[in-house]
Amino acid sequence: MSQPLLQLDQATIRFGGLTAVGDLSLDVHANELVGLIGPNGAGKTTAFNLITGVYQTTAGTIHFGGRNIRGMKPHDLTKLGIARTFQNIRLFSSLSVFDNVRAATQLHRAHGIRNALWRGIGFHRAEKEVETQVLELLDIFDLGRLRDEEAKSLPYGDQRRLEIVRALATKPKLLLLDEPAAGMNPTEKEALMKLIKFIQTKFQIAIMLVEHDMKVVMGICEKIAVLEYGRKIAEGTPVEIQKDPKVIAAYLGTEGEDDDA
């Protein structure tokens, strides 16, 4: 087996006395679709925040593409190829749909103040390229028709999709989706599952998914890790997980809630 893209090795973070994530070890390989599940407060989003550099590990290491990410800021990690969406949608609310995606493309441009100010031929060519790229992306996700709308005025489902498009615009190798199905009805969930699979094949990237909806997770993930009280209690294929007695015990009576407090 090749070197994993993302490698968590006993990653731990403590807030005061509380261990939010403890000794979490997990590998994600290129183009793999991994689900991260667990009851409310199990530390799933915290794990995402560790991977994206929002929080720093108290102990253990995280490697991405063979590099230890310790001390790196979220924007550095985005450059390395980690992109994410947020549990509570965080779009740039005063920017248009188009600009939301455009803002995310800049890290791959030879951008800079000088270019923006001089507005030479190179600048216009580059801006043109960005535009084509952004519109292409928007069109793939059927958002092109909304390009001039303010992001905050979009319907909920479109906002969720726009957030994914924005993340993809950073050209990631690993995409982290934090509860993408939250608040969706069954038809929308169905469409979302297709969309995630589509992204995986079309862009050839690894995807990590935090989700409460078992149907979504079991339906598309190749590998699933289960967290409880910050610790991994199981890892395996959907079939293995469904049979795991520890998982069943952990989920008794808690399944199906949307909220991860």
Partner: protein, 322 residues
Amino acid sequence: MPSLFNSQPSTALGGAKRWLVAGILLAVVVSLFSAQFNRYYLGIAIDCGISIILAVSLNLINGHTGQFSLGHAGFMAVGGYSAAKLSLVCSPMVPDSLKPLLFLAALVLGGCVAALIGLGVGIPSLRLKGDYLAIVTLGFGEIIRVVVQNMDSVGAASGLKGIPKYTTLGWTFALAAITIYVVATLVNSTYGRGFIAVNDDEVAASSMGINPVRYKVTAFVIGAFFAGVAGGLYAHHKQFLSPTGFDFLKSIDIVVMVILGGMGRTVGVIIAAIVLTLLPEVLRQFADYRMIIYSLIIIGLMMARPQGLFTTGWKKKGVAAV
């Protein structure tokens, strides 16, 4: 419509540079005739231009990037004093034909020194938000004032006098045009969307590869640079500088322009800068009721147009108003 203020990059952005050139040319042409103008109106017109530079540059910090700065007068003071000192020291050594060059050098020096201070002020902004940042910037402004007040080399409390009168309408509006150009083109580029992204949601921006620290500091440095240039123009316009002219009330004046114009709306801010500079002059006829009316107008405007004076419908077709 090809324009400086259009948020779309699709159409010919070459228009932006044309506007800049046209603006500078217009300023220079008008300035050729300025000898015929009444000195009072000329002075007010230059005041308006300086206000535009101050307000538009503060708009980059406060409006676009969302950093609440109350220290703009401090940057202006630093720029004004540096520029004035340079031209005071050098003007006896420079022949008349080279005076414009000296003035340019003085303005650039003023801008650069202010930008350096802006870098210093930008650094706390990495850790502080909202009111705390406002207080820190206010504090920086006051510290600058206190330091100047104690510096005998720039006249301390009695002020710096005898600054040569280099500022003309042409210089002022050419520089105003450059300021508007820089801020507007910067923000209206893929790079510049980062300023607004940082303003909207810092965490999300960071996760999209946008380095918030860098953007915030950049905004402070560029904003401070132009405030410094405005200070240089002011110094060579009034020909006298005193530290009391740069207290925090001056910063508040500029903040009011930005908020009244609509945070992040370039055209609105320009118009607000002009209106708020003219208003006290227009109100002069009311004598001792003048400032009472002025304050009532500010309250009234905030109630009637809280989103900024000129927001609706002006954002996209605003070029005609420049």
